[in-house]
């Protein structure tokens, strides 16, 4: 008996709709991800079991580098029109008698990474394009009792954005003295709630262990 001959056509699959769908998903993901800004100091956060996600907005972050430098970061608020960052800088400038030009303020708004520049060098830092000079100016925010700029940044940030929340991002090896100093300043300014930024780690105690 002769075999039934199937039409010899290669099994074509039309991939065009799949490509369409993929491009839509890809474009969506590309637009929604915000790339992480490079931080001025390398920080390995400690691990904890906490699963609470960090808020996207209304936060001021203190970056505590292992060498004891303190950096700060603010966000622009849930709406870009709010532009908290330049307002905070302008407020800070007022306290120290420095007037920032609109170009400098815009520069500060667009720069989303943490900064650790003393306010006196802020103008120079904002105007230079030399990357080496920019890094060398990041000496950490001064927080001695004579010139406590960190406390003033906190005050200005809370004045501009009353809903701001403090988060602390420290390296595992940061000395506790530095952390204690920052906590002290925050408590002095009546900030008693903080978020400590950590990495997630699983840990459980089981019932039998308790019952023994």
């Amino acid at each position: 008996m002769p075999k039934i001959k199937l039409p010899t056509k290669s099994p074509h699959i039309d991939m065009t709709p799949m490509v369409d769908l993929f491009s839509v998903v890809l474009i969506f993901l590309m637009l929604t991800t915000t790339m992480r800004q490079p931080e001025p100091a390398n920080v390995d956060t400690p691990f904890s079991i906490s699963e609470t996600k960090m808020d996207d907005f209304n936060s001021m972050t203190f970056l505590l580098a292992p060498d004891g430098k303190v950096f700060m970061n603010f966000d622009n608020g849930p709406d870009t029109l709010l532009a908290y960052r330049p307002k905070i800088l302008a407020e800070m400038g007022k306290r120290y008698g420095i007037e920032f030009t609109p170009a400098e303020l815009r520069n500060f708004q667009e720069q989303m990474s943490s900064m650790g520049v003393p306010i006196m060098q802020m103008k120079e830092w904002l105007n230079t394009t030399d990357n080496n000079l920019r890094t060398s100016l990041q000496t950490g925010i001064p927080m001695d009792s004579t010139d406590n700029q960190l406390a003033n940044w906190i005050l200005c940030a809370r004045q501009v954005n009353p809903n701001i929340k403090a988060s602390i991002k420290g390296d595992t090896k940061t000395k506790f003295e530095v952390v204690e100093k920052v906590l002290d300043i925050l408590q002095d300014k009546n900030v008693n709630r903080f978020n400590l930024i950590t990495n997630l780690e699983e840990a459980k105690i089981n019932l039998e262990e308790i019952q023994q």
Binding site: F22, T45, S48, F176, Q187, N190, L196, T198
Partner: protein, 226 residues
Amino acid sequence: MAEIIVEEKGKGGKRKAKKHAPHIDMTPMVDLMCLLIVFFMLVGAMTKSKVMEIILPERIKDPAKQEAPRISASRTLNILLGPDGKVYTYPGSVKPEEYSAVPPILPPLTETDMSAEGIRKILVERNRTLAKRLAEFDQQVLSGKIPISQDSARATKSKMKNDDDTGPIVLIKAYKNANYGNFVDILDEMNICGIARYTFVKIAWYETLMIEKAAGIAPTVTASAK
């Protein structure tokens, strides 16, 4: 594999060259897109960092009007974070006449570490009643015996912690050579063991002395340096 479908119109012998539809192989493009999508999804999921909330008691600004809250010494457990990740504990408190004596009479410290066998065992031991209730509740929620939303489960647990009056009151104190990692670790231990009441306080001079004695460091403080 992939092709763009072209309508075939059999018009005559002259257009025979057009019989082959122009194939564009889209497979590499699909591969590439797949990779990019996976990349962006992972980046999006990983950038979100996790936070641990800590609430410190309000600073007492006017000691004449406000008084520090009094807590019972029998429930107090002091945890001292020492250098090199060492952890020391001692129960109760040191009375003023004990630490101001010359030489100061100081309670012995128990040395442990951050591991599950160390400090966690001590904490669970002292917090048995509450830890058991919390763990049982967790298990019932997980097994579906209590149908409850995540938010109300959290609220129930914090109420259980609030109502508890047998667990320890933990005072965390850090020696100056401790690091931030130890601090987060110990706060994490509090969450794991379900300690209801804990706070972070500044280390007293005599406690610094106790750590230095236990760790074999030359004493850096004296009674006058308080």
